[in-house]
C-alpha cells in the first residue's frame, strides 16, 4: 500500500484524473472482482486526495521570462 501512495504522488494532475476516470468507470460497471474493487477504491480515494492537494496550491505566480 505504501508503494502505491508513492506512485500516485508522482503522477501529474492530468495522469491522475485519467486514472481516476478509469477507476470510476471500472467500479461503476461492476466488471471487477471484490478484491480488485477494494484496491481500486483505495487507489481512487488516494487519487482524489492527490488531485485536491494539487488544487489547493493556488499561488497566482507570474514570472517574467523575456530575454533582455
Amino acid at each position: 500500500m505504501a508503494e502505491k501512495d508513492i506512485d500516485i504522488n508522482g503522477l501529474s494532475f492530468e495522469q491522475a484524473i485519467k486514472k481516476l476516470t478509469d477507476i470510476v468507470g471500472k467500479i461503476e460497471n461492476g466488471s471487477i472482482s471484490l478484491e480488485q474493487s477494494i484496491s481500486q477504491y483505495e487507489q481512487g480515494m488516494s487519487l482524489i486526495k492527490h488531485c485536491r492537494g494539487i488544487l489547493q496550491k493556488a499561488e497566482k505566480k507570474i514570472e517574467e521570462i523575456s530575454k533582455k
Binding site: 470510476v24 481500486q40 481512487g44 485536491r52 488544487l55
Partner: protein, 414 residues
C-alpha cells in the same frame, strides 16, 4: 517652355547637327521641366519582373497606352502586398528618360492596390499562400492540454492584454503558473520579435516546461494588428512544438496568426477561458468521482456480501458434518443390504442342504427297516443276500431289523 523647346533647334543654324546624347538630354530636360516632380498614376500591372538585383520592372497600362515602370529594391521592400500581373494599382513617383534605352519610364516610389487597401490585399495574399501550403490544416493543430499548469504569455508589457489574460486565467484556474514574455506587438520589427520570442520559448522549453503559450494583444486598427499578419509570426506559430493560442484584438478581428494557431481566442480575455479549465468544475468533478466510487464500491461490497451470505446459507455450511453423515448413511445402507443378501444366500444354501439331506435320508436303505422290512445278510461274508443261491443249508444268516437290532438264525431248509 514648350515654345522654347521647339524653337531652340529652329533658332539654331540649319547646319547644327545634334548627337543622340544631346537630343536625348534635350528631351530629358524638357520632360523634367514640364512634368511635376511627383505624379500619381493608376493602371494595371503587366509583365512584372523582379530582377536578381531586387529591382522590379513592369508595365502599367490601360486600354490604349503602356508606360514602362521601375521600382527600386528599397521601395519595393516597403510594400505590404505583392504586385501581381493584372492588378490595378495606384502608384506615386516620377517620370524620367532613360538614355541608354532611349525610353521614358515611370519610377514608382510607392504603390497600393486600387480599390481594396494594401493591407487587405497583403492579408488575402499571405492567407492564400499559407493556406495552399497547408499551414492552416486541422491535421497540424495540436490539442490543448486539459489541465495546463505552466502557461507562457507573449505580449507587450504596456498593453492591456497582459492583464486581461492573467486575470481571466487566475479567475478560473488560480493554480497555474504564468510565464510572461515581453515583446512589442506593433510597429517596425514587432513581427520579427514576436517570431523570435516564440522560437526562444520553444528552444528553452526543456527548462520552462510550458504546457501552452498565448500570443496576442488588444484591439486596434489593421495597421496596429499588422505584426500578427506577417509571415514570420505565422511560421513561428506553425513551427512551435508548444501548442499556441492566438488572442489578437476584438471579436471581429481575424489575423493570419489566428488561422495558423492551434486555437483562436476572439479576445485576450477569452484566451484565458480557452486555455484553462474552471477550478470549480474540476473540484465538482472530483467530488462526483468521490461519490461515485464510494456509492458503487459500497453497493459492490454489499452485493458480494449478499452472495457470500447466500453461499453460507447452503446446507453444507450450516452443518459441515452432513457430508460425512450422508456418506456414513450411504455406507450403512450398503452394509445392511450386503448383510441381508448374505443372510439370504446362506439361508438358501441351508435349505438346499436340508433338502438334500432329506433326500439322502429317504434313500438310506435302513429307513425301510422302520416300515417293517428287514435286511438279510450272510453272516460269514456280511453280504446282503439277494438270491436264494447265495445261501446254503446250515449257513448262518443275520437279519437286521430297525434300531440296529439283529437276529441270527440257521438255514434249515430252502
Amino acid at each position: 517652355m514648350e515654345q522654347s523647346l521647339f524653337d531652340k533647334p529652329n533658332s539654331n543654324k540649319k547646319t547644327d547637327i545634334l548627337t543622340i546624347s544631346q537630343i536625348t538630354f534635350i528631351i530629358k530636360t524638357a520632360l523634367e521641366n514640364t512634368l511635376p516632380g511627383k505624379i500619381t498614376i493608376t493602371g494595371q500591372i503587366s509583365g512584372f519582373k523582379q530582377h536578381s538585383s531586387g529591382h522590379c520592372y513592369f508595365d502599367l497600362k490601360d486600354a490604349n497606352a503602356v508606360l514602362p515602370c521601375v521600382m527600386w529594391k528599397s521601395d519595393f521592400a516597403k510594400l505590404k502586398f505583392k504586385p501581381e500581373n493584372g492588378l490595378a494599382i495606384v502608384s506615386t513617383g516620377h517620370i524620367d528618360v532613360y538614355p541608354p534605352q532611349g525610353k521614358y519610364q515611370f519610377y514608382a516610389d510607392s504603390m497600393s492596390p486600387a480599390g481594396v487597401g494594401a493591407l487587405q490585399l497583403a492579408f488575402e495574399q499571405l492567407k492564400n499562400k499559407l493556406a495552399a501550403e497547408g499551414l492552416f490544416d486541422d491535421e497540424h493543430k495540436k490539442p490543448l492540454p486539459d489541465y495546463p499548469f505552466r502557461i507562457g504569455i507573449l505580449t507587450s508589457k504596456s498593453g492591456a492584454a497582459l492583464h486581461d489574460i492573467t486575470d481571466s486565467i487566475f479567475n478560473r484556474w488560480p493554480v497555474a503558473e504564468l510565464f510572461f514574455y515581453d515583446v512589442p506587438v506593433q510597429g517596425d520589427g514587432a513581427a520579427e520579435k514576436i517570431a523570435a520570442a516564440i522560437k526562444d520559448v520553444n528552444k528553452r522549453n526543456s527548462k520552462l516546461n510550458l504546457d501552452v503559450i498565448i500570443v496576442g494583444r488588444g484591439g486596434g486598427s489593421m495597421e496596429d494588428l499588422w505584426a500578427f499578419n506577417e509571415e514570420a509570426v505565422a511560421r513561428a506559430i506553425f513551427n512551435s512544438k508548444i501548442p499556441v493560442i492566438s488572442a489578437v484584438g476584438h471579436e471581429v478581428d481575424f489575423t493570419i496568426a489566428d488561422f495558423v494557431a492551434d486555437a483562436r481566442a476572439s479576445t485576450p480575455t477569452k484566451a484565458g477561458v480557452i486555455a484553462v479549465p474552471d477550478i470549480k468544475e474540476v473540484l465538482a468533478a472530483l467530488e462526483s468521482a468521490d461519490r461515485r466510487i464510494k456509492t458503487n464500491a459500497i453497493s459492490l461490497f454489499e452485493l458480494c456480501g449478499q452472495r457470500l451470505k447466500t453461499i453460507l446459507a447452503a446446507a453444507m455450511f450450516r452443518n459441515p458434518l452432513l457430508i460425512v453423515q450422508n456418506r456414513e448413511q450411504l455406507l450403512d445402507g450398503i452394509e445392511n443390504n450386503l448383510a441381508q443378501k448374505a443372510d439370504r444366500f446362506f439361508a438358501g444354501i441351508k435349505l438346499r442342504i436340508e433338502t438334500l439331506g432329506a433326500k439322502l435320508t429317504a434313500c438310506n436303505p435302513k429307513s425301510v427297516l422302520n416300515r417293517g422290512y428287514s435286511i438279510t445278510k450272510n453272516a460269514a461274508t456280511g453280504e446282503i443276500i439277494k438270491n436264494i443261491e447265495e445261501i446254503n443249508i446250515n449257513d448262518t444268516i443275520i437279519t437286521e431289523l430297525k434300531d440296529e437290532k439283529r437276529i441270527e438264525s440257521r438255514i434249515t431248509g430252502k
